[in-house]
Symmetry: C2
Subunit: 354 residues, 2 copies
């Protein structure tokens, strides 16, 4: 073992023993991704320049691991399978693992963390540091290369704003699902567009090009058929997939679509601002800089004129000029791996100095 010099970790391993590895897992409602990375990586946390040179050994993926969606047995099996596969693809094994971060959607309480810890604890040596977090942690860390400070805004099918302080405090806003008013989400935007069609058709709302544009995409011939289409399949993602049609309609000058997107921007900005305010992420005076990591299909649904993410940042910066937006270059599972690596190097330093 080489130890470390000047606070930078150089190499944790004897050159003869198998290389230590780190696992980072991003478990979502659609898919689960596990990254295996060398534990000997020298990462300068906080910058973005190291993203391209991360020592990633392998990447495995599987289906949903949110136990609320698929049940506990299936979630446990998926988590186990995807980690075993990532290790195998990296020609490594569980004894080489130094730290793991599982960032899994559905984890909201300490009891959720305890449950998942019990599922995976026996798969690895006792010395392995295992961190269980919500999947927002992986998204946050993917933008800050492992550092948990600032705010992350995830706007895909659903939406949530999650804030982290360096002292460990966390806060969230939105993320309550479509029934409970996540109007900034992809589902929320598309549901408003479908509602606008119904209103134009039955005489309650203004005419809108969303009518023809959405009917064309769905292959329907009349607005009456929209009701049946909506209720034929309860999948939120299927509704949310209409977001690009709303953006395109707004870009072509449709006022109804434009209004829906502006409302969505307001909602997303409100969620972020609520988190900033509660955690004082921008300092007592609201002027300090802080990172805002932004991910998800709604943020990426930008065309020539309409860029939802840019508009959200514009609104936030009116109140908090120190907002520093980051669109991550690496995927959330890599963020999770960096959280694990960060923890491992910290504990390693403590071990060495004690």
């Amino acid at each position: 073992m080489k130890g470390y010099t000047n606070g930078e970790i150089q190499d944790f391993e004897d050159e003869t023993s198998p290389a230590g590895v780190i696992l980072g897992l991003d478990g979502g409602t659609t898919s689960t991704v596990c990254i295996c990375m060398l534990a000997s990586a020298s990462i300068s946390f906080g910058g973005g320049e190291a993203a391209e040179s991360l020592p990633i050994l392998s990447r495995a993926s599987a289906g949903c691991s949110n136990f609320n969606s698929v049940g506990e047995a299936a979630a446990k099996e998926t988590l186990e399978k995807v980690m075993v596969e990532a290790l195998s693809m990296a020609h490594s094994n569980s004894s080489a693992v130094r730290a793991i971060c599982l960032a899994v959607s559905g984890v909201n309480h300490p009891s959720d963390q305890q449950k998942i810890l019990e599922w995976v604890r026996d798969l690895f040596p006792c010395s392995v540091k295992i961190i269980i977090e919500n999947d927002a942690v992986a998204a946050m860390a993917s933008g800050t290369l492992g550092k948990l400070h600032g705010c992350v805004l995830i706007a895909g099918t659903g939406c949530i704003a999650y804030g982290f302080c360096e002292d460990g405090r966390q806060a969230r806003a939105a993320g309550a699902g479509p029934i409970l008013g996540d109007w900034g989400s992809g589902y929320g935007i598309a549901a408003q567009a479908l509602t606008a069609i119904i209103r134009a058709h039955d005489g309650r709302g203004p005419q809108t090009t969303l009518m023809n544009n959405i009917l064309n995409v769905l292959g329907l011939s009349s607005p009456d058929e929209v009701i049946g289409w909506t209720y034929a399949d309860p999948s939120w993602a299927r509704i949310a997939a209409l977001v690009p049609v709303v953006v395109a309609s707004a870009e072509d000058g449709d006022e109804v679509a434009d209004k829906i997107l502006h409302y969505s921007v307001q909602e997303l900005a409100d969620s972020v601002k609520a988190v900033i305010r509660r955690l004082k992420l921008s300092g007592e005076d609201g002027k300090s800089p802080f990172p805002l990591v932004m991910v998800g299909g709604v943020i990426e649904a930008n065309n020539k004129k309409w860029d939802i993410g840019k508009e959200v940042v514009k609104l936030i910066s009116k109140d908090y000029p120190g907002v520093f937006p980051i669109r991550p270059k690496v995927e959330p599972a890599v963020g999770a791996a960096l959280v694990a690596l960060n923890q491992y190097t910290k504990s390693f330093r403590v071990d060495q100095s004690s």
Copy 2:
């Protein structure tokens, strides 16, 4: 057979043969009710004074008969069962039936009418007039004693406005379900109240007494638990059952609850006005009188100060001063029976005069 005098039907039957009967059926998503009534009833259509003296022989009830909810086989069985039971309770049988109106939720197209007609046609003699309609028809007729002219507003778990012209034209507004923005419905009101709790809790919205009032009713200890409660059971009626808590909170001076109810009133009035406008129910000048039948739990959720139905009428009458609100004294199945009776007496008059 006595025939008729002065255009009033006195008695259709020989005194020796079994009395002719009428069936009226109201098929909803929660329950199905069938009324058996004497075909010899003398009804003055349009007034409300005859409601108490209708010659109702029996009333049978069963579960859901909306084929979209329970499937075609179960819906067919329920319709058949409830009609047979009503006839049996009235000590009558299918050969005594003169006319039937089945007003069933889920009937929206001629193909739906044809399907149900095929299910029930063989149960009765060929001469029996069978009318198949949407359940809004039963609600309308329950307020006008069988006459299909005017508008009906149904605001229960869902909401819909349905308009009828004497020439047979119909129009509807709303009734598209919770995903598609029925914000005036019981579900819509309660979902907004639950959303207000989430917003107050995560710092996006003002504080509201809805928080404690709803948590108490649901037996929950924290707003975080509301998300899990909401998604634990997808029943819309379960959410809509919170409407009385919203009304009570508004009456106690809660501004958030008050705003939700005012928005709901606006939405319901907009739906009715869209139907009036499209059918010109209030004449070319918008000043002619027309009946507005109002039914459902939201309309009935009035306490001392807040009366949603009254506020809806107030808004409509600003544009259409001829609106004449009716809160029916008889149930929708009786309305359906009166539609059938109305048709029967019409055809009887035609037969006699031809």
